[in-house]
Amino acid sequence: MTTELQRSGVSATLARAKGARRAALIGYLPVGYPDVDTSIEAMVTMVRAGVDVVEIGVPYTDPLMDGPIIQTAATGALAAGVRVRDVFRAAEAVAGAGASCEVMTYWNPVLRYGVDAFARDLASSGGSGLITPDLVPDEAADWIAASDAHGLDRVFLIAPSSTPERLVTTTAACRGFVYAASLMGVTGARSSVGSAAAELVRRAREVTDTPLCVGLGVSTGEQAHEVAGFADGVIVGSALVATLVQAPDNRAGLIALAAKATELAEGVRQ
């Protein structure tokens, strides 16, 4: 395989944004909230509003890295009957809308589905790879093999607490991009991004050429602009999910979502 063929959709998207001298905007939504069809419509809505990469969440009963907003959406999606395989339908729809996507999932649903089978089905639906919040490279031998076999990205997280040694080994295990957690905590909006994110990105730049995308706590266009000043991508989750969770009905939710995504997209383009 040539290196060009190995470049995932997300890698190409990040490279294009870099060519335009800006950071990419990565928007998270869980599949299945408030129902599968509406969640897919919401993802396409985000793309039309300027989100470059969709991070499709797999709802899970025990999301221990997530704050109240995403927990609420995950619980709602499970109650509405979402299945793991719906994530592949969502990936196809995002690809059809002209954007690329990564799937964000806790490890047990993938383990239960079968690591290789999940990788196969994700690749064939047009997904670029996985973001794994509770799987560190140390435990990921099966996933590393499957992602190699199917040409998928593997996005592991780094955190302000990561030791210098772990920054080296974890970023080296990543493909596509590295998810830099901006702070010590779970998902959810924060009033300010804080200095830990810039410092973490600075430390990581010294040991890797892989794009560094920053997530956790970003909720406004202003914050997105600030993070775009030092990161290759800005990841927003809870602020987007909140537009759906807090809306009186689906239509109002999609309108609020489009407005928030537009605000964030302008933030990374300023």
Binding site: L64, T75, R112, L135, V136, D138, R166, M184, V186
Partner: protein, 410 residues
């Protein structure tokens, strides 16, 4: 773009056969490595071990005694000789204090000033609040809303000890959700906070560390039996929620090939009912929950299934990874005990011996009733009486219809 080399993953840490590992957010890895370093040093440090032993002697009340229960054995266990290891007599009323004192000492060694804990029945929360009070640490305990209601007395105990108790309203509002919330707190506050995980599961090094702090149960009991009965037991029985009292009493006997190790799970309404906490009874399959690869009650999508048990301490959809290993290797056997069987054993021990067991421990007693009848009068059974029943008086009184309706809010 250059192709990046695939990193060779380091050999898996902390595995019991295939089980265990460290499935956590990267943000916690540094803290787990720090903990592993400190506890490894501490467990080889005579000063640490001496301090812990002295606390156990003058504060916990160790060694805990063993009690032969002849009437219970004669009337309910086919005449088998049954001996209880009395962890219920420890300070705070259960085995939980063994682990908590060890982890609280480690917290101070690591220079941290705050502990957090999850609790189901409240015993681990009470023990953690106690150790925090003793050692001057701030303490927050997470407890599912359902459990705060069925164990209201323990909530009050923790608050009297100065701990903050946070009811958890997510998910099934029981122990597993309290664990999730404790992890969320830990990620945000790990710099000055230690998570005193209460059982032998979670990410490495917790399963091994918690087992090692409870290992004293089996070490003492084995020596006491040899001393007082001149022989090893035919079987050692313990209830298994996460499985800390069971690992504690089993571990010293693992190399004694003639000693059967028997774990009793919360059987709820029975294995076929779908309302139980029997991780080894069929529906459960290996998976990842709360940082460990082990048996998990899960559906075919990998979503956790809510467990059910009359005992809050056994009402947990996962189990320590070393139990998964002992089960698969055939060294230990695990059986479900229904709510009804457990409450029958609760009443039996209370009426024949004047000892009110924790409902958790009553599951082990119910196991002894079955195994005793199977093995007969020559058998010597060691049962871990992991906790006392004071906290369960209200639940038991309701179960047996001993409360007037008017009193049922007492």
């Amino acid at each position: 773009m250059t192709e990046q080399p695939t990193t060779q993953a380091a050999p898996p840490l902390g595995r019991f056969g295939a089980y265990g590992g460290r499935y956590v957010p990267e943000a916690l890895v540094a803290a787990l490595e720090e903990l592993d370093e400190h506890r490894t040093k501490a467990m080889a440090d005579p000063a640490f071990l001496g301090e812990l032993a002295e606390l156990h002697r003058s504060y916990t009340g160790r060694p805990s005694i063993i009690t032969p229960v002849r009437r219970f054995g004669d009337e309910h266990c086919g005449g088998a000789q049954v001996v209880l290891k009395r962890e219920d007599l420890n300070h705070t009323g259960s085995h939980k204090i063994n682990n908590v004192l060890g982890q609280a000492l480690l917290t101070k060694r690591m220079g941290k000033t705050r502990v957090i804990a999850e609790t189901g029945a409240g015993q681990h929360g009470v023990a953690t609040a106690t150790a925090a009070a003793l050692m001057g640490l701030d303490c927050t305990v997470y407890m599912g809303r359902v459990d705060t209601e069925r164990q209201a007395l323990n909530v009050a105990r923790m608050r009297l000890l100065g701990a903050e108790v946070v009811p958890v309203d997510h998910g099934s509002r029981t122990l597993k959700d309290a664990v999730n919330e404790a992890f969320r707190d830990w990620v945000a506050n790990v710099e000055h906070t230690h998570y005193v995980l209460g059982t032998v599961t979670g990410p490495y090094p917790f399963p091994e560390m918690v087992r090692d702090f409870h290992r004293i149960i089996g070490v003492e009991a084995r020596a006491q039996l040899l001393d007082e009965f001149g022989r090893l037991p035919d079987a050692v029985l313990a209830c298994v929620g996460g499985g800390s009292n069971a690992m504690g009493i089993f571990h010293r006997f693992i190399d004694d090939a003639g000693v059967r190790l028997i774990g009793l799970e919360g059987g709820g309404d029975g294995p076929a009912s779908g309302r139980h906490a029997s991780r080894f009874s069929g529906e459960a399959t290996p998976g990842v929950l709360h940082g460990a690869f082990t048996y998990v009650l899960q559906d075919d999508e990998g979503q956790t299934i809510e467990s059910h048990s009359v005992s809050a301490g056994l009402d947990y959809p996962s189990v320590g990874p070393e139990h998964a290993y002992l089960r698969d290797s055939g060294r230990a056997d695990y059986y479900p005990i229904t709510d009804h069987e457990a409450m029958t054993a609760f009443e039996a021990l209370s009426r024949t011996e004047g000892i009110l067991p924790a409902i958790e421990s009553a599951h082990a007693l119910a196991g002894a009733m079955k195994i005793g009848r199977e093995l007969g009068p020559d058998a010597l059974l060691l049962v871990s009486l992991s906790g006392r029943g004071d906290k369960d008086v209200h639940t038991a009184a309701k179960w047996f219809g001993l409360l007037d309706e008017r009193d049922s809010d007492v």
